[in-house]
Symmetry: C2
Subunit: 448 residues, 2 copies
């Protein structure tokens, strides 16, 4: 990082300078840094914020994490709230309004000018995880026969109104999207050039109902700075900008990782979440999995007599269960991530299972061989070595088949595949691997 005003230095600056001096410097301080300084500030937040103009306060609230927006906003009296929201971009305003009291939100929307209020009401109709839920309505439209100079003059008058100027859009009379041109293409062409040949009529756009993960994939594929959102009749509704997408990608990955580790989703950073919040995030899945594991206990009880006579058989239970769990979760995680990145679809199911069975044969035979040698050498009991190794090989094949199947089934039934990761698969595989193991032992070892 460089010598820009951050952290303690920024805090000191905000405390020691007059509102006028602060205002003069504010253009060059990023609101994310003010927000950071605020988090470290021990005193009353409002005393630090009171000297800031409303547009800067709007940016600071925009930068705040979802769960902090409402709290920050509530520091201000209702009249100032109305002024702050009038400075916010539509997508950010909707995010804020969704976190506060619905009655207050309705009041605040009424205070906006009619067009903005209409935009916000429409945006609030969309599911917050869809393209419609993350788009902003402030985009820049141009005529398809303007010259570069005319466009620049138009931007000088109206450019401030748009969320992003990276792309300018050409619409017809019914607001249908006809083409797009990048600001870059505008500024590298001479003032007298007309925009017509620069316009790309093959616009890549997304539908407002598209899931935000798919939106992120579209951004990743094309590398655009923003993407237009159009409805079924190709009418342009808004734009989504790349900076919002970066947040989405990080959040979605975090949610997937949490689900894979049997954690309920928790807004908010670890260090800022209370002990009861953290416990709540974990207890349901632990209870569910603990009770599921009782089935494995019943299987052991069923074979109790055999195990009582042969405690050496018990000694291999943890190794079999763990290897099965690990083998299964490897497959599950590869499939879950592949689906999250759009690399694996439901139609690929048979390809995946066929692949996993071949992989599990290679892996299973390799591990069984090592395991056979180990038991033979250390226990001098080739029959025991054979029994355990056969069970191991079957366990790995079953685990990988289950591991790749469950996430795809979940996806088919519109359940998040990430739920079907290590913990659930381990529980299922434990039971299956013990059944295989005990039956093999009964057939080969006890008899032998």
């Amino acid at each position: 990082m460089s010598d820009n005003l951050q952290g303690a230095e920024l805090l000191q600056f905000l405390q020691e300078h007059s509102p006028e001096e602060i205002k003069a410097a504010l253009n060059n301080i990023h609101p994310a840094d003010i927000l950071d300084a605020l988090e470290d500030y021990q005193g009353d937040a409002i005393s630090l914020l009171s000297s800031l103009p409303n547009d800067v306060l709007a940016s600071i609230i925009e930068e705040a994490e979802e769960e902090d927006k409402g709290e920050l906003f509530d520091l201000f009296p209702i009249n100032q709230k109305k002024e702050i929201i009038s400075e916010m971009a539509s997508d950010e305003l909707v995010d804020l309004l969704e976190t506060i009291d619905p009655d207050e939100a309705t009041d605040l929307i009424e205070s906006l000018d009619e067009e903005d209020a209409q935009d916000v009401k429409e945006l609030m109709q969309y599911d917050s995880d869809t393209a419609g839920g993350i788009m902003a309505t402030e985009f820049m439209a141009i005529q398809d026969d303007m010259t570069v100079r005319q466009i620049l003059e138009y931007l000088q008058r109206h450019g401030d109104e748009a969320e992003s100027l990276s792309y300018l859009y050409v619409l017809d009379a019914s607001e249908n999207l006809k083409g797009v041109v990048s600001l870059r293409d505008i500024v590298v062409n001479s003032f007298t050039a007309t925009v017509t040949p620069l316009i790309n009529p093959n616009v890549i756009s997304v539908h407002p109902d598209l899931d935000q993960e798919e939106v992120a994939r579209t951004f990743k594929k094309y590398g655009f700075a923003s993407i237009p959102v159009v409805n079924d009749s190709n009418q342009m509704l808004g734009i989504i900008t790349a900076d919002d997408v970066l947040d989405i990608v990080v959040d979605e990955s975090t949610e997937d990782i949490e689900k894979m580790a049997a954690l309920a989703h928790n807004e908010g950073e670890y260090l800022e979440t209370g002990v009861f919040g953290l416990a709540r995030q974990r207890i349901f899945w632990l209870l569910f999995l603990m009770l599921s594991a009782t089935f494995t206990g019943y299987i052991i009880q069923d074979f109790g007599e055999m195990l009582a006579g042969m405690v050496i058989l018990t000694a291999f239970i943890p190794m079999l269960m763990n290897t099965g769990g690990n083998a299964g979760s490897q497959s599950a995680v590869l499939v879950i991530r592949g689906m999250a990145l759009g690399e694996i679809a439901i139609k690929d199911y048979f390809t995946v299972v066929f692949k996993e069975i071949r992989v599990s044969l290679i892996v299973g035979l390799a591990l069984a061989a090592v395991n056979f040698l180990r038991i033979w050498i250390f226990n001098s009991d080739p029959l025991l070595a054979l029994t355990v190794s056969l069970a191991l090989c079957f366990t790995i094949i079953i685990s990988k088949a289950v591991g790749c199947t469950l996430p795809i089934i979940a996806h088919r039934f519109r359940i998040d595949p990430a739920i079907m990761a290590a913990p659930i698969i381990t529980t299922i595989v434990d039971a299956l691997s013990l059944i295989v193991y005990f039956n093999l032992a009964k057939a080969f070892y006890i008899r032998g």
Copy 2:
């Protein structure tokens, strides 16, 4: 997605039209879509590509996944290769050169004009996971006293040379970075305005040695379209653009998820990786964890006599081991992700452990209570219920303490914390939980 030319339609277009017609249409077709069409194409790739101009071929290679770039590039004769690389951005060219034969890479670099060759050689010095390894050297510098009109005229002549025009940079005579101005601020101001008041001297920049994960966090925090890279003496070296960062975030998350599931990293998508490649990705960790699990077996053998007399004790082993593993991996994953996102640092260790112990008390007591009732009701043996539930509570506390400790220790010793997720923690926790359980059983249950 919209009606733009993609997939089968695009493929048909490329096959059925003359090179001239294709060239005329190419400006409006995204290279990522050509690449997609190419992947679905059954015929000879070169026959489809031969009609495309070198700058488009350069873009297609830029869009290709790391592991496919070299193969695609190798379709062309050496003379065309030289022309293709002269069309590539420096950061993309370096990515390509790092995947091909080093001797050929050296030859190709020599064919570039002197300045470009120098840039590429310098970029290749940086570790590919650092800011220096992902930056491009083509940025746009301006004078701090130009008017908007002068800047626009300058961009008309030179704008094509830059990787991004989102920001223009002000450098002094020694190429030190003095300020930044966004293209947006340029175009919304009148032609006669001077740029001086628009320049932000508090530039947020990154050092070339900064890890790419940290670079991604800087982008996430500020939401910029690009960030300048400066060395220790504040000399400007290049820029990193947001579209590259989106790829990094996705790749880093995928790598972390793979590590957490005991998978070695594998370039390339699941469906495109062969069976042996997939097996290789899994076998090391499975073997390592299988052999580690033998310790748990020894513990069981040690308590063999007790278990032979009381098979009911064996029946609770899977439940205890699973719950311990799940509880531990919950903590580990929260800490691993928190560190990956920069929310948890090594200095927070004691805060984290203290928090985890309190959380584990709440969770442990809740689960133990449910478990106690379950065993009491179904086994009518309150002493057994007490023994197992006590062991469960201790197991959860130990698991969570181990789960949050190992990733932080790993991080301290510059090992990737993601390695310390579910599988390793499960193996350690299994052994610990059985020791606690068997000793409790010996002390309370067998005696009683």
